[in-house]
Symmetry: C2
C-alpha cells in the first residue's frame, strides 16, 4: 500500500524483501490443509509493480540500520536512504518456551504451510503401517493452540479433512481414532469479536467434532506429550501453534525503541521513537494513539495496509512542505470461517453467522487476493471442493531420500 | 493403467510408490519455467483410486526383489506377492560423466522442476546486483542439452521468458545479454519425428532467438565453463540436461536381466527374463519384439501405458486359464510445442506444424492430464498467459536462510 501510494510521487521507491512475492496470509491455513496450491496465494512483487516506473525491487536480507549515517546494511551491500520504512511483519511467538518452539509447528510463511501439508499427509500414510492403537492415536491427533482466526480456521479444516477426505482416500484408516483439538488460554475463541460470534464459533466447531478447550493453558510439549496448565496430558505428534505473534526485530535501533515482543515504538506518524526519517508500520510497529487499543493496534492486515497508505500520503505531504496527518485506524470488521456453510463475520455494526457469513468470507478473501490468475485458481479450487467434497492438492513434495518414511514398528505384511 | 485394468479382477492390487502422487511429466518443463504450479500436474494416487475397492496404496521405497521366495523387500517391511510388476520408470542419464552430473540440472521429478524455477529466478535477481558484463552474461546464459521434446520445449519456454516476462519484470536487466542455447549431439532435433518436423522446429526456435547447435557433443561442464566436442567453450551458470534417460534399477534381480542403461530385459509378455511372475513395464523394461525398435521401445508414456493395459489383461487371462497375448505397440503419434502459436505434431499419417499443431498439442495435453481440478487450473493458467503474456507462478519458495543470495561483488549502491 505504501509503495503503491507513492507511484506518482517524485521519489525513488526501493522495496527489499527476502522473498520475491507478496503472501496473502489469511489463506495460508488452506495451503496447510491441502485445499490450495502455494502458488495461488503468493504474487510476485515484480509483477505487482511492473507498471510503476519509480519502483525498484531487490531480494535481500536486512542486517541493520545505521540511522546516524542514513544507511541500511543488507546482505547485498549498504543502501543509502532518505526515508526508511520498516515493515518487517511478525513471526510466531512461543513466549520463550524453547521446548515448545522446538517441537511445535508455526504457520507464518509459505514454506511452513507446505511443510505442514507434507507432515500431516505423512502422518496419515504412516498410520496405515501400524496396528498398535497406542501408536496410531497420537499420530492422528492434531492440536491447534490459539483460539484466534488461524486456530479456528485450521481446526475447522482438519475436522473437514476427517469428515470428507480421509474416509475416501484412506478407507483402511481407523478414522474414529483421529482427534482435532483447539486449545485457548483465554475464556473464549475469537476474543476480538463479540461474545455471540465466539459462542457461534465454538458451537460450529463442536458440531464438526472439534474438541474445544478454553481457559486452558499449554505448559509444555516434547513432540509427543502435551502438558496442560492443570497438569493433564494429551498425546499428539502434531502441535500447530498460533497462540501468539511477535514483531520481527531489526538490528541497529536504540534498545529503548523496542518493546519485549519485538515491536518498535512509533508515534502517531509511525516515526520510530527519537528518529525523524525512520518509520515502522504494520505488525512490526507499536503505536498506542487509540484508547481502544492501549497496547497498540492488533497485528492484522487491516492496520498494516491503512498505516502504509497513511505513511505514503505523509511522505508526499513532507515533500510538499505540508504537515503530516496522524494515523487513525478504521476497523472494517473481522471474520473467520469454521467450515462448509459456516462462518462468523462482523462489520458495519452487523453480526453475521452461518451460510451468509460464509459467502461474505469467501467474497472478501477472493477480492483481497492479488491478481486475476490467483483469484481464478482459488475460485476453481473452492468450486471444485464445494461440489466434490474433495481437495485437490494433497501431494507430498519431498526433497531427496532424507524425508522418506523410515518406520518398521509392527509391520510384517502391511496389507493382508 | 495396469491397476485400473485390474479393477474388476478377483485380485488385491497393491501399489507402492515413493511419492503419493502421479506426475504428468510432459508438463514438467512448464513448472520449471514458471508457467504452471507444481500441484496442477500432480494428482494424488489415493484420489485416482478412491472408488477401486481392490486397490491399496502404500508410500514406500523398494529395496530389493527376492524372486525365489516371492517377497519384495521395502523400507516399510517385506511384502509377499503372487505377481510383481516393476514400473520404476527412468531417471536422467549423464552417461557416466560425473562432473556434468554434479553441475548440470536434470528434470525428471517435481522437486527438480521446482528447484529449476527457483534457480532460474535467482539468476535474474542476482544479475541485477552486478555491473560486470563478464559476470552477468554466464548468469543469463541458459543451455539445454538434448534435442528431444524436453529440450525443445524448455528452450522455447526460456526464449519466451526473455521475450515477454523479463522486460516487464526486470526493466533494469540487460536482457540483450541473455542467451538460450539448445545443443544436440545428433544431426537434427526431435529425431523421433520426420525431417520436415525437425526443420520446422529448428526454424521456429531460431525465430524465437534460440541458438540451436546440432551435431554438437558436450564434453564437459564444471558449473561455469561448458566444453563442446570440438574443444570450443561456452560460459553458463545453468546447464539443463535432457540428453538421456536410463532405467531406475531394482536390487535383487539376476545381473544378466539388466542391460547397461538400467532397463530390465523382458519377453513379449513383459515377463522378466527367467521369471514367470515378475514383470517389468514402461521405461524400466527393455522389450525388443518389434523390428522398428530393435533396441527396445522408446521410453515414452505411450509405450508404458499400453504395456500396463496389456499386462493387466494378461494377468486376468492367466487367472481364467487362458494364454497370454504378446504386447504390440501402437504408435499414436508424437508432438512438441515450440512456443506461442508454434508446435509440431505427427499422428494418423498427418504432419502438422504451426498454429493448428499448437492447438492440438494443448488439447491432447489437457485431456491426458488427470483430474478435473488439474485440467481447470492448467487451462486457467494457459488462458491467462495467452491473454496477458504473463506467467503466474514465478515465486521462489525457499527453505530457511541457507539459500539466500550471498553476493557482494561490485555492489555499493545497487540502486542509483
Amino acid at each position: 500500500m505504501l509503495a503503491k501510494s507513492l507511484r506518482k510521487a517524485p521519489v525513488q521507491v526501493v522495496l527489499l524483501d527476502r522473498n520475491n512475492y507478496h503472501l496473502f496470509q489469511p489463506l495460508l491455513y488452506q495451503v496447510a490443509t491441502a485445499g490450495l496450491e502455494p502458488d495461488s496465494i503468493a504474487f510476485p512483487l515484480r509483477g505487482i509493480f511492473k507498471r510503476q516506473k519509480n519502483f525498484h525491487f531487490r531480494m535481500a536480507e536486512v542486517e541493520s540500520v545505521n540511522a546516524a549515517a542514513n544507511i541500511l546494511e543488507t546482505n547485498i551491500g549498504p543502501i543509502q536512504y532518505d526515508h526508511l520504512v520498516l515493515a518487517t511483519g511478525s513471526n510466531t511467538n512461543f513466549f520463550g518456551n524453547k521446548e515448545i518452539e522446538q517441537h511445535a509447528i508455526g504457520m507464518k510463511s509459505l514454506i511452513e504451510a507446505v511443510q505442514i501439508r507434507n507432515y500431516v499427509l505423512k502422518q496419515f500414510e504412516e498410520s496405515l503401517l501400524m496396528t498398535d492403537e497406542a501408536l496410531i492415536r497420537p499420530k492422528l491427533s492434531f492440536v491447534m493452540v490459539g483460539g484466534g482466526p488461524t486456530g479456528v480456521e485450521l481446526a475447522g479444516a482438519f475436522a473437514e479433512l476427517r469428515e470428507y477426505i480421509l474416509p475416501k482416500d484412506y478407507p483402511e484408516l481407523p478414522v474414529h481414532m483421529m482427534e482435532v483439538y483447539l486449545i485457548e488460554a483465554g475464556p473464549r475463541l475469537l476474543a476480538a469479536m463479540s461474545e455471540k460470534s465466539s459462542r457461534k464459533t465454538e458451537e460450529g466447531l463442536r458440531k464438526l467434532g472439534v474438541k474445544v478447550m478454553t481457559n486452558t493453558a499449554v505448559k509444555n510439549y516434547d513432540g509427543t506429550v502435551l502438558t496442560l496448565g492443570n497438569g493433564e496430558t494429551l498425546r499428539s505428534q502434531s502441535l500447530l501453534w498460533s497462540a501468539g505473534v511477535k514483531g520481527v526485530p531489526v538490528g541497529g535501533l536504540a534498545p529503548d525503541t523496542m518493546i519485549p515482543n519485538g515491536r518498535i515504538i512509533v508515534n502517531e506518524f509511525n516515526q520510530v521513537q527519537g528518529l525523524q526519517n525512520v518509520y515502522a508500520i504494520g505488525d512490526a510497529a507499536q503505536l498506542a494513539n487509540d484508547e481502544r487499543f492501549p497496547k497498540g493496534y492488533p497485528m492484522v492486515a487491516q492496520v498494516a495496509s491503512q498505516q502504509g497508505k497513511n505513511l505514503g500520503h505523509n511522505i508526499i505531504r513532507q515533500i510538499k512542505g505540508k504537515a503530516m496527518q496522524p494515523f487513525k485506524y478504521k476497523d472494517l470488521g473481522s471474520m473467520a470461517t469454521i467450515g462448509r456453510h459456516r462462518a462468523v463475520a462482523e462489520f458495519l455494526g452487523l453480526k453475521l453467522g452461518g451460510y451468509f457469513a460464509w459467502i461474505v468470507w469467501m467474497i472478501v478473501h477472493l477480492l483481497n487476493l492479488m491478481g486475476f490468475r490467483n483469484k481464478m485458481v482459488v475460485f476453481i479450487n473452492w468450486a471444485y471442493r464445494y461440489l466434490t467434497y474433495d481437495r485437490g492438492t494433497r501431494i507430498i513434495i519431498k526433497r531427496g531420500a532424507a524425508n522418506i518414511v523410515k518406520l518398521r514398528q509392527s509391520i510384517d505384511t502391511p496389507v493382508q
